[in-house]
């Protein structure tokens, strides 16, 4: 049987593709990333700086731009903590308890992903606008919702609702209920169990969810455009102001604000990466037992 000489052994990994296929795939990814992600980002910054740093910074110091920045930060500061709390509560409820209609509730949490933000904005206008009974009463009482901060926050909370819950649910499902049950058998109260066992175990997923939620809250356009009324200097957030400036051919001002918004997003991602690098061991320990 051993008459035929054996072909020299070639060591090849079972999961590796031929060299040409590898380079082709890598090339497609790099090209795609370049055209869709990096080039536009660079273009935004380049466009903002066509008349130099001074002009770009001056356009950011403008009264309306400052108001827009302040409004956007206010929106994020209110809606992100609200959604963090909602998200934790929803994920906790869904993953630690058994009840009928769980699948329906999960679908409901995802609703903002599937509903167009414009529709969400219109719903809020219909509910709280001056023409509705509730809205009329609110305006009469001096607390207008539509065309004011409360409406903008409501719209943002709706659109960013799934981010925290969506990050937490898979992690909490994987971690199960055993650690919480162990804490209870050791005499810990429900609140203590939540604070000392549940919360530390989900802290990285929570942070990631909060960062994503924050990025989206600052960048939300559609829903806010409908409910804000686009009152310059009052209800125009950064994305709304960018659109208005762009439509008025003020491209340096528009792109400077756009660059600022992009920067806020990039800083968010940078923060996340730094935290991940610094706490890699702990993240590994809490995700895989």
């Amino acid at each position: 049987m051993s008459d035929t000489p054996l072909a020299p052994l070639q060591f090849r990994s079972a999961i590796a593709e031929p060299r040409a296929a590898r380079w082709a795939l890598i090339g497609i990814v790099v090209l795609g990333l370049g055209v869709l992600l990096f080039a536009p980002l660079i273009a935004v910054f380049a466009e903002a700086l066509t008349r130099g740093w001074a002009a770009a910074l001056a356009s950011l110091g403008n009264r309306d731009a400052r108001a827009a920045i302040k409004l956007t930060l206010t929106i994020a500061a209110i809606s992100v903590p609200l959604n963090a709390a909602f998200g934790i509560a929803a994920a906790w409820f869904i993953t630690k308890f058994d009840f009928r209609g769980k699948a329906f509730l999960i679908t409901l949490i995802d609703l903002p992903f599937s509903v167009s933000p414009v529709v969400a904005g219109l719903c809020i206008v219909l509910m709280f606008g001056a023409n509705s009974a509730l809205g009329g009463w609110l305006v009469a009482s001096g607390y207008p919702v539509v065309f004011a901060l409360p409406g903008i926050v409501l719209a943002t909370v709706f659109v960013t609702f799934p981010f925290v819950a969506r990050e937490l649910i898979p992690v909490m499902v994987e971690q199960g209920r055993a650690e919480e049950e162990a804490a209870l058998t050791l005499g810990a109260s429900g609140a203590r169990t939540f604070l000392t066992v549940t919360l530390p175990n989900i802290r990285w997923a929570l942070l990631y969810g909060v960062l994503l939620c924050n990025a989206r809250a600052m960048g939300e356009f559609g829903a806010v455009a409908v409910v804000s009324g686009k009152i310059r200097g009052q209800t125009a957030s950064i994305p709304i102001t960018i659109e208005m400036l762009y439509n008025e051919y003020l491209s340096v001002a528009a792109f400077s604000l756009a660059a600022l918004l992009a920067m806020l997003g990039l800083i968010t991602l940078l923060l996340k990466t730094i935290l991940e690098l610094r706490h890699a061991d702990q993240i590994a320990a809490t995700y895989h037992h």
Partner: protein, 239 residues
């Protein structure tokens, strides 16, 4: 502590996990609940620990009705199947958890907590692993830490759910005698759940054979071997 299970039943929705079962566990006994999966043994253990509540029937601890006691009030040392160690805490913090969770008036001092945790680490023969995290331990070490954590609260009874299930054969043998020694040393009434008949027969004073939510036979290991009460028991212990 004497445990009396009086006509306990449990239904999840429309499926009955336990038909009414009664069982008397004398103080200080080491008892195995033996049966295949789905026999209701884990449900019964969780009812004793207060993690599930029965659909009907009563649990009595030393003659007092304990059916309505919350999981915290039961003071049952519970060892979970996959140990459920707190993964973000060190071994020391894991074992100290139950002591630190006590109301302020009953909480031991910091020095006392350290003393007790050290003593428990000695008891499980792992004196040096206090600063480590659960992910840095072997399966056998985790199991022993889970046991120490359960013992730290000075429990009234010890409940173990498949304590050796996730371990290889050699470690299993060692830990079996380890559990026996700890039981004999503490004198705690101990109930453990297993599907492994050798484990039940070798370790327990009494074996409770369960199937389909019913108790098939209760007896000393040698009696069950010599005189299986039902066809199921005969088949299960020969298999």
């Amino acid at each position: 502590m004497h445990i009396e299970i009086d006509e306990i039943s449990k239904a999840f929705g429309t499926t009955a996990a336990l038909h009414p079962v009664s069982l008397s566990i004398p103080s200080g006994a080491l008892v195995a609940l033996l049966g295949p999966s789905g026999s209701g043994k884990t449900t019964l253990l969780r009812i004793l620990g207060g993690l599930e509540f029965p659909s009907s029937g009563r649990v009595l601890f030393d003659g007092h009705d304990a059916t309505g006691l919350s999981v915290q009030e039961r003071r049952a040392g519970f060892v979970f199947q996959s140990y459920a160690l707190f993964r973000h805490m060190t071994v020391f913090e894991n074992i100290a958890y139950g002591l630190r969770a006590r109301p302020r008036a009953l909480r031991p001092t910091r020095a006392e907590i350290t003393r007790r945790v050290t003593k428990l680490l000695d008891l499980i023969q792992l004196p040096d692993i206090g600063p480590r995290y659960p992910s840095q331990l072997s399966g056998g070490q985790r199991q022993r830490v889970a046991l120490a954590r359960a013992l730290a609260i000075e429990p009234r009874m010890l409940l173990l759910d498949e304590p050796f299930g996730a371990l290889d054969a050699k470690v299993r043998k060692e830990l079996r005698s380890g559990l026996r020694e700890i039981h004999d040393e503490t004198g705690l009434t101990t109930v453990f759940v297993t599907h492994d008949q050798d484990e039940a027969m070798e370790l327990a004073d009494f074996v409770v054979v369960m199937s389909m939510g019913r108790i098939e036979q209760i007896g000393k290991p040698q009696d069950i071997r010599a005189r299986p009460a039902t066809a199921f028991v005969r088949e299960f212990i020969s298999g």
